[in-house]
Amino acid sequence: MAEEDRSSTRQQERRDFMRILGGAIAFAGSAVAAGAVAKAAASSARSPAEPPIPGYDWGKHRWAFGVDASRCIGCLRCDVACKIENDVVLDPHQFRTWVERYVYLEGEESPRIDSQSDPQNIAAAGSGGDYRFDDRYRDANVSKAFFVPKLCNQCEHPPCVEVCPTGATYKAKDGVVLIDQAYCIGCQYCVQACPYGARYLDPRKGVADKCTWCYHRITKGLQPACVEICPTHCRVFGDLNDAGSEISRFVRGNRVEVLKPETGNAPHVFYLGIDKDVS
């Protein structure tokens, strides 16, 4: 009797186990199916179809940017041109490109650094839409000083793309990191992830924004606005696939550096004439 009881209990247990197992398999199956659907959607978000730009094939270009910092005079025309060309919010805090001023005073080891966002410089400019560096060092004993233009580095391994939860930001085949502002949810994870501070939230649109090397211009064979306006030709832009292009010669003919190479992001903005304190 006891034996019978035990065997029926065991059978019951086995039935229960099979039921749970069946449930688990059904659950796992539906999870896998959901995952497959999501993956298909995700892959479409990650590698969007080629944009319909007449006469442009993004598989044929490898854009790159060069900055010869020793040529920069800090006139900040690049900032103004960029803001107008790209409809960047006209205030002194959000920029697709900016210029940093490094000044080493005699007897000081670390440089004094500022940009056009510095309150004194904003006051000197007089408006949120115009930019200039003030002359605070006019009477100082300067031992070394230089300007460094900054912009999005369009990294080979962009952390901003890695962290984007929707795939709204993605790397185009020609190497430029773009943002689909109609899809961005404005979580600002990409703003956090960029080690260069190149991204910001556009307060008018509630979405992320950053330099695209004037994608709307370069895909039509034009130069980015900042390159075009620079009076000292400190900025160089072009196609690395064209060995004769100015950027190819710039990278080939100089010992260039990139910013924060230790991040492994592999930037595509190449610098000349910067210093150990530039980060």
Binding site: P159, P165, I185, P195, G197
Partner: protein, 391 residues
């Protein structure tokens, strides 16, 4: 004009990138990991009874489940309000970008919500069936609906309930741990921010989450039971004190290791980190440090002497309150501190939340009070008290 423009930028010293003068992740993102942490902690307490069968936690096991659910309902809200385009929030779920830790949030939190709701259903089903029979008026059809047509309360059916509640609780433990570990990963995995970039971040988040969740339950247990004029059980109080002390001990050690490692490695920017600690972050760090060490001292005495000690309940509640504040300060110190330390490692931004506005203090206070209000209603609908159980 210029003053108006300057007003929206956070004050800073040294050199910070221009785009950094607007703090991206505000108070709402401090509240978000705090709330998910409370969920994880409350859930762990309920599991100590439901999974590990520790009888001392029986009086609050079901109450802890309801607490976890109420706070979980509000966790996504702080994220949602913070989005630049909240109406697009579901893009992250419908077309997730799998390399993003944030894309997992909808799935992990959603899965956890399902597990929690199912566990609550099994844990309360017998009560709901009884209430469907006894309730009057509008509540009767509600309870009827909540039974989902399953009104069998035979011993066999109850055993089945218990088995499923336990299975779900077992599943819930790794899910809760995953949910909160992942929150730590969101911060710890970013190489762009020196203050966040640490392998210990998920562990610290997870451990402190349990501390804050248990502390919340201590406060709720003492206040709610006193309001109900119900008896506080010594075993339960002792158990909560022990769990809180154990998790606090490990949290303190791991956090101390984090700081020691940072200073011992002394990588680039350590000088600015010292200025961050002495400068904009010192109030938060002081609250976190003093709160947790004081609570640790009190709890050490309490678990040594036990409930015989004078005013055990008062001291336990005090240490729980200290820990809730300390963990909130820790969330602030991580989320805000990480952004106050500039990516240039050569400057510091100071963030001061506004009082009103979308990400102001008021919104966050409402987000923290909301779960308690929902809990108040839910505890009336589904009384989790042991004496309310049907015989």
């Amino acid at each position: 004009m210029i003053h108006g423009l300057l007003f929206q930028a956070a004050p800073y010293v040294g050199y910070v990138y221009p785009n950094e003068t607007v703090i991206s992740w505000s108070l709402l993102i401090v509240i978000y990991p705090y709330i998910t942490g409370l969920v994880a902690g409350a859930f762990i307490v309920s599991s100590l009874y439901h999974v590990f069968g520790m009888p001392q936690f029986k009086p609050i096991a079901r109450f802890a489940l309801l607490t976890a659910l109420c706070f979980l309902l509000f966790a996504p809200l702080s994220l949602l309000i913070h989005l630049g385009r909240p109406e697009r929030a579901f893009h992250a779920v419908l077309t997730p970008h799998w390399t993003s830790a944030m894309a997992a949030f909808g799935y992990v939190a959603g899965f956890y919500l399902v597990v929690l709701v199912l566990e609550i259903w099994f844990a309360f089903r017998a009560d709901v069936v009884a209430m469907a029979r006894n309730a009057r008026g509008a509540l009767r059809p509600l309870y009827r609906a909540l039974t989902l047509g399953s009104d069998d309360v035979s011993p066999r059916a109850l055993a089945y309930d218990h088995k499923w509640a336990r299975a779900l609780a077992i599943l819930g433990i790794p899910t809760a741990a995953g949910l909160h570990g992942y929150v730590g990963f969101i911060f710890g995995s970013l190489k762009s921010r020196e203050w966040w970039s640490s392998d210990l971040m998920p562990i610290i988040f997870l451990l402190s989450a349990v501390v804050s969740g248990v502390a919340l339950l201590v406060i709720l247990y003492v206040t709610v039971w006193k309001l109900r004029r119900a008896e506080l059980k010594d075993d339960c109080l002792n158990g909560l004190a022990q769990v809180m002390w154990a998790f606090l001990t490990v949290t303190l050690v791991v956090e101390a290791l984090e700081y020691v490692e940072m200073f011992y490695r002394a990588r680039e920017g350590i000088g600015t980190i010292v200025k961050l600690i002495e400068g904009p972050l010192w109030p938060g760090l002081l609250i976190q440090g003093v709160g947790s060490v004081a609570a640790f001292a009190v709890l050490t005495v309490l678990i040594t002497v036990g409930t015989r000690s004078r005013n055990f309940v008062g001291w336990l509640t005090l240490s729980a309150a200290l820990l809730m504040v300390a963990v909130l300060a820790m969330r602030w110190n991580v989320v805000i501190g990480g952004q106050e330390l500039s990516k240039t490692l050569k400057g510091l931004v100071t963030y001061r939340p506004e009082l009103l506005g979308r990400d102001g203090v008021l919104t966050s206070a409402l987000l923290l009070a909301g779960p308690l209000a929902v809990l108040w209603v839910l505890a009336r609908l589904l009384p989790p008290w042991e004496e309310a159980r049907p015989a």
